[in-house]
Symmetry: C2
Amino acid sequence: MKLLLISNSTNYGEEYLHWPKPFISDFLNKFRVKKVLFVPYAGISLSPLGLKESYDVYEKRVQEVFKSLGFEIYSIHRQSHPIRAVMEAEAIAIGGGNTFHLVYCLQKRGLMSAIREQALHGIPYLGWSAGSNVACPSLMTTNDMPIIQPSDFECMGLVPFQINPHYLDKNPEGHGGETREARIEEFIILHPRIPVVGLREASLLEVIDDKMVLKGSRAMRLFQFGNLPCEFAPGSDVSQLLKPIN
Amino acid sequence: MKLLLISNSTNYGEEYLHWPKPFISDFLNKFRVKKVLFVPYAGISLSPLGLKESYDVYEKRVQEVFKSLGFEIYSIHRQSHPIRAVMEAEAIAIGGGNTFHLVYCLQKRGLMSAIREQALHGIPYLGWSAGSNVACPSLMTTNDMPIIQPSDFECMGLVPFQINPHYLDKNPEGHGGETREARIEEFIILHPRIPVVGLREASLLEVIDDKMVLKGSRAMRLFQFGNLPCEFAPGSDVSQLLKPIN
């Protein structure tokens, strides 16, 4: 498998998709990819005119960034045969937004299993935020609001652990509720065999075959049942997480 | 109906359930309540020993606060006939924690409809955080992590709008993702007939029959499709929100 699982598109105050550019470029060039099929279904509020228009805006925004790197983006929402488009894609990119809406759309259109199959067959897959969440066993460690009910929480399971994108160490000022860590620990209580990677902004996991490396500029925080959370520095080989816990 | 829908149990740096004490006391005394049936299913990480022990700890914590106000708390997780306990309760309180786990348990045990029926018949209902979310049409505007899949997102619909508890105006420092407002706007796009109340910490909604008042020390922010968000000061009569939008 060839996966680039990115925590977030954009760091605070930076341009859209700025920080991951060199990683995206390096990843796609490694496999001589030229054209990337884009999945915009997580982005629903980019245009006041409706969902179709929101996807158009999203495609254009991503197109501009990828074009500057020498890659062509074309969106699945404009394809008359979306499943066929997945089966014929050179590479697939799933953008961030709302994970529940993304999962709802992927399941409804039969795309979850089609994309999964292609990724398992070695088609390069890249995702950011919600697009990284759906590569996990389920959507269960998203931070997003459940604005629509998908038929199932199950996702692609390309990796056997969960990612919590945009992982944050602290609560916002004045917030008396649970921290992110407390929320992830709730998950671990119910699912002791599924580790959770807290992927901070400006970091990503690159998977090539049986090797996984943390890239970017921030450490990741690993949560496992029965252990204290532990940290891995950027550049760490974290391939051991690719083996499911029995 | 008699509802006390509280944003949060505890303000940052304060003791557990400190700020809502006078409101809880006033609400329960108004209806001469002495004993309150407590629902602890949102609280799953209060003991390392397991769920049952977590509920025990939760019951005790809430018991102490209510006892200091002159009310008795007894938890549903210790009742051999939970639905009967609901049908015989003088008043019902649902505590915060994880909304998905709460909804999962309420649906699985047939308690969602039993509690709904009792609340519709005038049994005083109070909830905080997740306990306020489940009084709404669905769980869809919770901030909690989806750590378990409930059979349905549908909740009690005691009010025809959604509450977003712990409503926050700003993103945490350095967070490049969507703001809370942006998330709520995503919900409104998909559900234009359901308004959302952003209920800031230290505030609550009290419903008595056809009257609803915002209480506490913070303004609430109302989101409605096609309108700019607007603010209501503490003490505002917001009864107009009890009428469903056709």
